[in-house]
């Protein structure tokens, strides 16, 4: 292994910390105007689907919208269960089981 591994790790640590600390330190201090609060309320509603849905629908850089995509079925299952207020651990376990089963059958 190369000799600059610790240097790279230090660089990665600093770069990552710079994505975490500034907003937390800056915004924790002051009360925010109403429109900024509205924005912060909407951020999770935009970020969580942006995290999750490509993991379900994009495989190897291509769109996987077909019925043979196990993750699509798992997504439907977990979404419906969670919307009906089924416990998170149970909803996720059932969905993971569905995906594992469909992959085993494929």
């Amino acid at each position: 292994m190369r000799s600059d591994v610790w240097l790279v790790i230090a660089g990665m640590a600093v770069a990552t910390y710079l994505t975490r600390a500034p907003m937390l330190l800056a915004l924790a201090r002051r009360p925010l105007p109403p429109r900024a609060r509205l924005w912060l309320r909407l951020v999770p509603l935009a970020v969580l689907p942006a995290l999750a849905v490509p993991l379900v629908l994009v495989r190897d850089g291509r769109l996987a919208l077909g019925w043979t995509n196990p993750a699509l079925w798992g997504a439907v299952v977990v979404f419906v269960l969670a919307a009906r207020r089924v416990n998170l651990l149970l909803s996720v376990s059932i969905a993971v089981g569905v995906v594992a089963l469909l992959r085993a059958l494929a």
């Binding site: 292994m1 710079l18 994505t19 509205l38 970020v47 942006a50 993991l55 994009v58 798992g74």
Partner: protein
């Protein structure tokens, strides 16, 4: 949320560290197993145990670590690895902004430490429970997630990856599953649905053309800013904004 008494009853005003910890247990097995996969992979690529654990504790951002290790092994320039890490982790800006109001009144040196623990899973757990998120719920979740990840990496370094292909058991799907479940419980107004569907569609379209994690940052930022500038401010349920 005052217009839905049932939802309000299921959601105590003040959360506890325990709530956050227990609320994160659905993710602990997957986080642990992916920790072992990372630990095993990094050692196999030639990193020492100290380097693997050092990276895990100092960087503590799984996705970017999985990206960095093959780059390190392939001899990529240090600057390229650091810049890639930064881009992959830029989504933290949005999460930190959302979490910040929960930590009003916390001493700055604590905030500096808490910032290091920001992760996708704890963000999701904390914002699904209350808005603004509860600091203690977030900290309980961060304890569960960071503990599971660091322990998983340590086990992976010592024994190699425990599960050769976690995908076979659907363990990779636990991540989108949790994020989707936590979106589902937050969709109350028609505007919420529009934001969620708009962000999902834009993120999928961008993921097909952009490398890395750009789609998360761009879709999350564009759609939330667009909606926040178009929606009337009184849609920001003021009842929710009060702290217990």
């Amino acid at each position: 949320m005052t217009s839905r008494p049932a939802a309000a009853a299921a959601r105590p005003a003040a959360g506890s560290v325990r709530d956050g910890f227990v609320g994160s247990l659905a993710l602990v097995p997957s986080v642990f197993v992916y920790g072992t996969v990372f630990g095993g992979l990094a050692v196999q690529k030639g990193m020492t145990a100290a380097q693997v654990l050092g990276m895990t504790v100092l960087v503590f951002a799984g996705a970017s670590q999985f990206v960095a290790v093959p780059m390190l092994a392939a001899g990529a320039p240090a600057v390229a690895i650091v810049v890639t890490t930064y881009v992959v982790n830029m989504r933290h800006y949005l999460m930190a902004a959302t979490l910040a109001p929960a930590f009003r009144g916390y001493p700055r040196r604590w905030l500096a430490l808490i910032a290091h623990l920001i992760n996708d899973e704890s963000f999701a757990v904390a914002v699904a429970r209350s808005r603004p998120p509860d600091a203690r719920v977030y900290l309980g979740s961060a304890a569960a997630i960071s503990g599971a990840f660091v322990a998983g990496v340590a086990v992976g370094v010592a024994l190699g990856g425990l599960v050769e292909r976690p995908e076979r058991y659907g363990l990779d799907f636990a991540f989108p599953a949790v994020f989707l479940a936590l979106v589902a419980v937050q969709l109350r107004h028609r505007a919420d649905w529009l934001v969620a569907i708009g962000a999902a569609a834009l993120a999928v379209a961008l993921a097909l053309v952009l490398p890395g994690n750009w789609h998360i940052v761009v879709a999350g930022l564009v759609v939330s800013l667009l909606a926040a500038s178009l929606l009337p401010v009184d849609d920001a349920d003021e009842g929710e904004e009060e702290r217990a």
